[in-house]
């Protein structure tokens, strides 16, 4: 039995669940945090969303059938939680999700937990102008360094379509950076 299957078995057993869940969080907390942070931008929001994503994993682990990798399944939950968070924020502020993201990117220079250079700041401003799917693909490929097969598992999109999305995203971002 490989280590992932063993961990899933322990997670689905009420006797060993909590201990196994602590191990799971230790393994994935940083990767999931950065994935969420790239979507929601602010540290406080990323912290909230990460906790909610882990709680969702804990409560639904008994339904995990193993059709995809545990890692992909958790990434999917984290992605959905992040998007839900942005939607809620947009609803509260009575603006569009795109406007929320533009505001978040525009306020990065005042964020204590943003230490990027000028190009990194502009990159964020360019990124939020892309369609959501292209943003996700770019983040997962460029920053998370994920393989297309794994991104395909998370987003449920073919590898070919993902390659095209990434290509378009890079071109648009480079155009923005070159002309701004």
């Amino acid at each position: 039995m490989d280590s992932e299957k063993q961990l899933i078995t322990q997670l689905q057993n009420t006797q060993t669940q909590d201990k196994a869940f602590r191990t799971l969080m230790g393994l994935y907390k940083e990767r999931l945090y950065w994935h969420i942070r790239n979507i929601v931008k602010s540290h406080n929001d990323a912290d909230d969303v990460l906790q909610n994503a882990f709680i969702k994993v804990y409560r639904n682990i008994s339904n995990f059938k193993g059709d995809s990798k545990l890692y992909s399944w958790m990434y999917r939950i984290a992605t959905n939680e992040s998007i839900t968070h942005l939607n809620k924020k947009a609803k509260q502020q009575q603006v569009s999700v795109e406007d929320v993201q533009i505001q978040l990117a525009a306020s990065l220079h005042a964020d204590n937990y943003f230490s990027g250079d000028e190009i990194q700041e502009k990159l964020q401003k360019a990124l939020v102008l892309l369609p959501t799917k292209q943003q996700l693909v770019f983040n997962m490929k460029y920053f998370d360094n994920m393989k297309y097969d794994d991104i395909s598992d998370v987003l449920g999109t073919s590898v070919g379509a993902l390659k095209a999305s990434y290509h378009h995203a890079v071109k648009k971002i480079e155009h923005y950076l070159t002309n701004s």
Binding site: M25, L50, I55, Y58, Y113, F143, E174, T178
Partner: protein, 167 residues
């Protein structure tokens, strides 16, 4: 001549991260925070559905109140009527000629007395009093064939608290 814009190749820049950072030691406390939330026992989206739950509970309470109200109305209004009907029917079936039409006025005092002796559930004077209104009692007094001496003997032996004088 125009200055050619310098193309920025994002892949060549190869940023390892987006420029975000976290508070010091942030990752060390996540497990504890997550378990604290899990153990707080408030299910996901609990607050999203609380209004529906409250309204559902209020609706079920209203239904319960209606059932109690209906029951008490039955007891108050129909039990005396059923008792009176039972009295008439019992005497009619057992003591009167079946060909005659039975009414309360046509009953003999002895028939009523026999019924009272045999029907234990309405022999209490309070229950009997509840069946009669003031007019019924006045009519009974005016048409009574009891001798004064009999009435005085009765009053000497009855417990006044058993009479339903507030009817």
């Amino acid at each position: 001549m125009k200055n050619a814009k310098k193309h920025i190749d994002i892949e060549a820049l190869n940023y390892k991260n987006a420029g975000f950072s976290t508070p010091k030691n942030y990752f060390e406390g996540i497990e504890t925070k997550v378990f604290a939330k899990i153990n707080s026992d408030i299910p996901d989206n609990y607050f999203d559905s609380i209004e529906d739950k409250v309204f559902a509970k209020l609706a079920s309470e209203k239904q319960t109140v209606k059932v109690i109200s209906f029951k008490s109305r039955i007891v108050k209004r129909f039990i005396p009527i059923l008792a009176a009907a039972s009295l008439v029917l019992f005497i009619g079936l057992n003591f009167l000629n079946k060909s005659e039409t039975t009414t309360f006025d046509s009953l003999e005092i002895s028939d009523i007395s026999t019924w009272l002796d045999s029907e234990n559930n309405i022999t209490h004077t309070y229950a009997l009093g509840a069946l009669l209104d003031t007019d019924d009692i006045t009519t009974l007094s005016n048409t009574s064939t009891l001798e004064d001496i009999q009435l005085l003997n009765y009053l000497d032996n009855i417990n006044l608290e058993d009479l339903n004088l507030n009817n």
